[in-house]
Amino acid sequence: MSREQSSGGGWFREADYDLMLTELERSAPTSLWSEVRRRFREQRAARWSARLLMVLALLAFFAPLLPLPSPAAMRLAGAPHAPVAPWSEFVNQRYEPVYGPLGALDRALVATRQKLFGKTQLGSWLGTDTKGRDTLARILWGSRTSLLVALCAALTSLSLGVAWGALAGLSGGRVDNLMMRALDVLQSIPTIFVVIFLLSFLNAPSAALGGARLLSREQVFFLVIGAVSWLSMARVVRGQVLALRSAPYVEAARAQGASLVWIVRKHVWPNVLPVVGVYVTLTLPAVILYEAFLSFLGLGVEAPNVSWGVLAADGAEALSPLVSSWWLVAAPSTALAATLLALGLVGDGLRDALDLRRGER
């Protein structure tokens, strides 16, 4: 009500009716999701984090197109080079194409880059590693692996975890009990075992394909990380479904003769979704860190491919009191920390927008 409310002699004028109408329209019942979107946008930190993640995803996808040095090109003389400020050396002409095996899309992107920029590449703004490879380029190329791992794990825990949890919660009784005990057992096996065995199992040349591999090493890695990250999601979903099943309005719907499909679609699914969404934002950082952990142990991606975990592990290894190549730790750690922080803030924002926990401020 921005306009003054004094409407003369007590009767409403035409303009007042217009005003009331717009007010009414604004307060008209909106759908749950537009409401959630609005409340999410109201939070500055979450909004900016979401933007940061989007920018990061775009940078990761278009990394081959950017005028970066090749992530595998070495300049051994005098390595590691300290970072040079962009204003002292913005670009140079030393680009040489050295890439690992690339997919068709990446090959096309790299070809476009070579046509667009030729020999021009950005200076080593973030320095180079002990083998003289450009840190910025490796971080951007590494983000492709790290983000893809996170995405795969999220998809697995979404499909497998939600299906398992929902099935257990909906069936209830003995089936539920059995499915939960199976989860108990799976959770009691050390994850690292499952990872190692699955990796060597899937990486072995299969006889059926004439000694060829069904999947590339990277694909196997993504699959394995996904396979070990769905257990808690199943638990969370099952808990939510169980709580919903005995909610009064669901019982009322059942008393009115609603079918199971209807109840799931109309009552269970929309109420499980928020929890799932928030839980995914918790899974993503955990998976990115797990990739770092596996890469540190040498079980992760192999050279010439890079990931943030590989970079952080290399940096930690290069850390010594004699040569202080601090940027090799600082750069990947900052990338990791910023991404995980942004994911966490988006998760918090989502939770607040969905009003899952009023108590937390």
Binding site: R181, D184, V185, Q187, S188, I189, P190, I192, F193, V194, I196, F197, S200, F201, A204, P285, L289, A292, F293, F296, L297, L299, G309, A312, A313, G315, A316, L319, P321, V329, S333, L336, A337, L340, L341, G344, R357, G359, E360, R361
Partner: protein
């Protein structure tokens, strides 16, 4: 309580059996054997080595032999009694396939205390840092201390622990020479690795505890207590603390199993001879016996700690009835 514990014991037996069985067949299904990576041995010697570890037996026989104190050999169920066979039920895990002339029991007896000591220090750090950070943040929500605590906990969660460990070594061990760089032997050797191992858990505990305290402090009973004039410290201690601790405990229960069995990364960086390295090495080398041993230890710890969590729940919240919920 007794009935609850009996029920859980039964489930415990089932879980251990299931884990053993899955682990056994998973290991055998994976290509490669314990001796396949080495220099090719002459066939006669290879056969002798395999016979020593019963790898020449059919799978079901190996399984039974691993499981129980049955004395199996070629002549039947109870044959030559000089060939001692142990088994999980007899708490004898047999000889290690990779570490020659050492049994798995000996390997575990040597490395487990080390990991337990390290894990206890890490748990201590996690609890001290986490609980104090969470408490400070929750007492003045929105204040400077709250923001500082949240920023620190975010950093602790977002940095891989090998980065934290390297930074610690560089600052506390090399620059200031406060603690030894690596190794094992004295109490001073425990401080840095314990801290590095505990920090991420402490960061998570701080977040959980803060959220739990804020939720608990919004309860009606707290308002009533304040209206009665109960001092603030007593309100936090008596009314908010118990329910705020519950999410912390349910997180720390399973997490402690991982901490206590050692962290591969931390043990590698600080050159600590704990169980952590055996998890990876035994799986990579197909050391079936040792892999079974560490799996068993881990499973028992996870399960035991989960039971402890449930028991702790009843102490913190008298409404929870284990007999009914078990």
């Amino acid at each position: 309580m007794i009935r609850f514990l009996v029920r859980r014991a039964a489930w415990f037996a089932f879980t251990v059996w299931a884990v053993i069985t899955i682990a056994f067949f998973l290991m055998r299904a994976v290509p490669g054997g314990p001796f396949s990576s080495e220099r090719r041995l002459p066939p006669s010697i290879e056969a002798a080595v395999e016979a020593r570890y019963h790898l020449d037996w059919p799978l079901w026989k190996q399984y039974l032999q691993m499981l129980g104190p049955l004395n199996l050999d070629e002549r039947g169920w109870f044959g030559d009694s000089t060939r001692v066979t142990g088994g999980v039920l007899a708490a004898d895990l047999g000889p290690s396939l990779q570490h020659r002339d050492v049994t798995v029991n000996e390997v575990l007896a040597q490395s487990l205390p080390i990991s337990l000591a390290l894990g206890s220090v890490a748990l201590f750090w996690a609890l001290t840092l986490g609980l104090s950070g969470g408490l400070i943040a929750a007492l003045w929500p929105g204040g400077k201390l709250d923001h500082a605590a949240r920023a620190l906990s975010t950093l602790g969660l977002a940095l891989p622990n090998f980065v934290i460990a390297s930074l610690l070594v560089l600052s506390c061990a090399i620059a200031f020479r406060l603690f030894p760089v690596a190794g094992w032997g004295s109490a001073a050797h425990l401080v840095l690795p314990g801290f590095a191992l505990g920090v991420p858990f402490g960061a998570y505990v701080a977040r959980l505890f803060r959220a739990g305290l804020l939720e608990a402090l919004a309860h009606d009973c707290v308002r009533t207590a304040r209206a009665k004039g109960v001092p603030r410290a007593r309100i936090v201690w008596r009314h908010a603390m118990p329910s705020a601790l519950m999410p912390v405990i349910s997180f720390l229960g399973p997490a402690a199993a991982g901490i206590l069995t050692g962290s591969l990364v931390i043990e590698k960086i600080f050159a600590i001879p704990g169980t952590g390295s055996h998890f990876v090495a035994s799986a990579l080398n197909r050391d079936y016996a040792l892999a079974m041993g560490v799996t068993l230890v881990y499973t028992v710890l996870v399960y035991g700690l989960n039971v402890l969590v449930d028991v702790a729940y009843t102490l913190l919240d008298p409404r929870i009835d284990l007999e009914r919920d078990a």
